[in-house]
């Protein structure tokens, strides 16, 4: 077997292979480590500090300090302070904590709602299937962001202007979560339709298992992988959606800020040159979302090699 022709080509291929291995092998691991570190930062720092968004946490005397390496920076405030004298390192931790919490919760809601509807559509079939899938078609016109805005406006009309922080957060979580149900429902439905006629399910049915038992013991475990992949990818979208809503001033209130809210605040100080108030939450948001997406893409490739390289 002649191999002389292959030697030079292999050396030419090296840069692309290196790039590919970074992207496909170490990339997801780096991203996962970044996610873990950021999550730790977001959930551990608040345990050992005064809430900067309470009255006790503000200090007007220290307001609008630039990051410590710039002229006029205070060594105690690494990334500077905002207009209320909050330390940015602290404010970012609280903001990220809110963003992650809202993102995870809304993904879970979408998963539960969509999962249930998908199971019903797939298992019951008939009119239930038609109804649920037509509703899914209609909702295609309204992406997560738009739907969340509409739901938010409607809820405002129902409950009026007086809302507790808890109510405001709940509204945001539900309206984002609801926007995601279609994808989960479609995935589960198609899996159920494939699985329910397979031999092992028929066998379980003949051996006297109830329909619900079949769903939980036989069908759900088989569709967990794709659901998990979609959930990861949706987490990135949920966090961006929440940040956008907060930026637009229809999301989480200022006393319980998310990254989007911090950017909204910072945006007001851009014109006067105090760039850091908006810049840090922007950078943190982008890093977090990119890391989530890298992990999500990797999971998709692992669980569903057929889709590799798409999009």
């Amino acid at each position: 077997m002649s191999m002389s022709g292959t030697v030079p080509r292999r050396s030419q291929r090296r840069p692309t292979r290196l790039w590919r291995s970074i992207r496909h092998a170490s990339g997801p691991w780096i991203a996962a480590v970044i996610l873990a570190l950021l999550a730790a930062y977001a959930f551990v720092v608040p345990l050992f500090s005064v809430d900067p968004f309470s009255l006790a946490g503000m200090s007007i005397l220290d307001s609008l300090l630039p990051p410590r390496w710039m002229a006029g920076g205070d060594p105690a405030h690494w990334l500077g302070t905002d207009d209320q004298g909050r330390d940015m390192v602290l404010a970012l931790a609280y903001g990220l904590r809110t963003s992650i919490s809202v993102g995870v919760l809304s993904v879970l809601i979408g998963l539960v709602v969509g999962g249930t509807l998908g199971l019903i559509a797939g298992f019951v079939g008939g009119w239930a299937d038609t109804l649920i899938m037509r509703a899914a078609d209609v909702q295609l016109a309204y992406p997560a962001l738009l739907l969340a805005m509409i739901i938010d406006g409607v809820v405002r009309a129902i409950v009026g202007g007086q809302r507790s922080v808890f109510a405001a957060v709940t509204i945001v979580v539900i309206s984002i979560g609801f926007a995601f149900w279609v994808q989960y429902a479609r995935t589960i439905r198609s899996s159920v339709m494939v699985e329910r006629d397979l031999d092992y399910v028929s066998a379980a049915r003949i051996s006297g298992r109830s329909e619900i038992g079949i769903v939980f013991l036989h069908i759900l475990p088989n569709v967990m992988a794709p659901l998990f992949v979609i959930a990861t990818i949706n987490l990135g979208i949920a966090i961006i959606t929440e940040a956008t809503l907060s930026f637009l001033g229809i999301g989480i209130p200022l006393t319980y800020p998310s990254l989007g809210m911090l950017i909204r605040t910072g945006n007001n100080f851009l014109q006067s040159g105090d760039w850091w108030i908006a810049a840090w939450p922007c950078i943190l948001l982008v890093i977090f979302v990119v890391a989530v997406n890298v992990v999500g893409d990797h999971l998709r490739d692992v669980f569903n090699p057929r889709l590799k390289g798409r999009g």
């Binding site: 962001l145 738009l146 405002r156 956008t244 637009l248 851009l270 908006a278 948001l285």
Partner: protein
């Protein structure tokens, strides 16, 4: 074919009726229009007149019917927030949004399509890799962050372009345009770029994937085996095969583009429909929200229906399959 078209049109109308019914229920059940629209010292006669004007004295089916008829006549109800007819609010703001959408579509076509074709034809070149790398930013950066960064760089730092408003506009009677003045063009550049970021990167990635897939097909290989010039193979033989999925997927992205227009208009204080919608949400102005709900659904459904009905023009195989 005719029956196919009519059944699809009927389906679209049915879906729009469902959306309208949801909007109708919102308007009917949220807020008390009488309390909001009537002055505190209103007489009983004024009150009765309003009840009749809003059809509040009729059964629900009749009210829904008159709601739909009103909508079709351009009578969209009255805003709780400004007490003006919703139709008037929309007419005032529509030109701003339409011009923004037009310019950003222009950017998408001029930049997105050539770059996408290039990346699909030469996926391994360093240029294509650079474009793909940059496009990751376009896909992951939140829309409002793009706007904020553009303002920070081009308005605040460099001072080249304005960061808010439409600039000077010219009233043409039926249309106010910003595209006839220098300040109007300067004002539209940044928001149009911000709005087109998503579309441009989306078109690039989509075209690239589609072209790479078609490029592997047997008929392209046969075209090569016949010695057709590369240009002709890519720009005619391959691209014609990608049109169908590309316009289909773009049509389905329309909802996203509308959502991003709301965000972009807010970032740049653009006086368009998106800003109106956002103000209405903050004020829980249900009549405007309801109209917007119907409007977005109608635009989405009608455009996607048009896309679907244009399939036979693009791909001769479709006609056979559907008829």
């Amino acid at each position: 074919m005719l029956s196919y078209v009519s059944s699809r049109v009927l389906q679209t109308v049915a879906v729009l009726l469902v959306i309208s019914f949801i909007a109708f229920l919102l308007v009917q059940n949220l807020g008390d229009p009488l309390a909001i629209l009537l002055p505190p010292d209103a007489t009983l006669a004024q009150r009765d007149a309003l009840v009749r004007a809003l059809h509040l004295n009729q059964p629900i089916v009749a009210r829904f019917f008159s709601f739909v008829v009103d909508m079709l006549h351009g009578n969209f109800g009255i805003s709780y927030r400004t007490q003006e007819p919703v139709a008037k609010l929309i007419a005032e703001r529509f030109p701003a949004t339409a011009e923004l959408a037009f310019v950003s579509l222009l950017i998408t076509i001029v930049i997105g399509i050539p770059a996408g074709v290039y990346c699909g034809v030469r996926p391994r070149s360093w240029m294509a890799r650079a474009i793909m790398f940059t496009s990751i930013a376009g896909v992951t950066l939140p829309n409002f962050v793009v706007g904020v960064v553009l303002i920070a760089v081009f308005s605040v730092r460099l001072g080249w372009l304005p960061s808010f408003g439409r600039g000077a506009t010219v009233n043409l009677g039926f249309w106010t345009t910003g595209l006839l003045t220098r300040s109007g063009w300067e004002s539209i550049i940044l928001p149009a770029i911000a709005l087109s970021t998503f579309q441009v990167t989306f078109v690039i990635r989509l075209l690239r994937t589609q072209l790479m897939e078609v490029g592997r097909s047997e008929h392209i290989r046969f075209a090569r085996a016949r010695g057709l010039p590369d240009r002709r193979i890519w720009y005619v033989y391959a691209i014609k095969n990608t049109l169908l999925p590309v316009i289909t997927i773009m049509g389905l992205q329309l909802g996203n583009i509308i959502a991003f227009s709301v965000v972009t208009e807010n970032v740049f204080a653009w006086p368009g429909l998106g800003t109106l919608f956002l103000q209405s949400i903050q004020a829980a102005d249900i009549p405007v929200i309801a109209v917007y709900l119907i409007f977005v659904g109608a635009v989405f459904m009608v455009i996607n229906l048009a896309v679907e009905l244009s399939y036979p023009l693009i791909d001769p195989r479709i006609l056979k399959r559907t008829s």
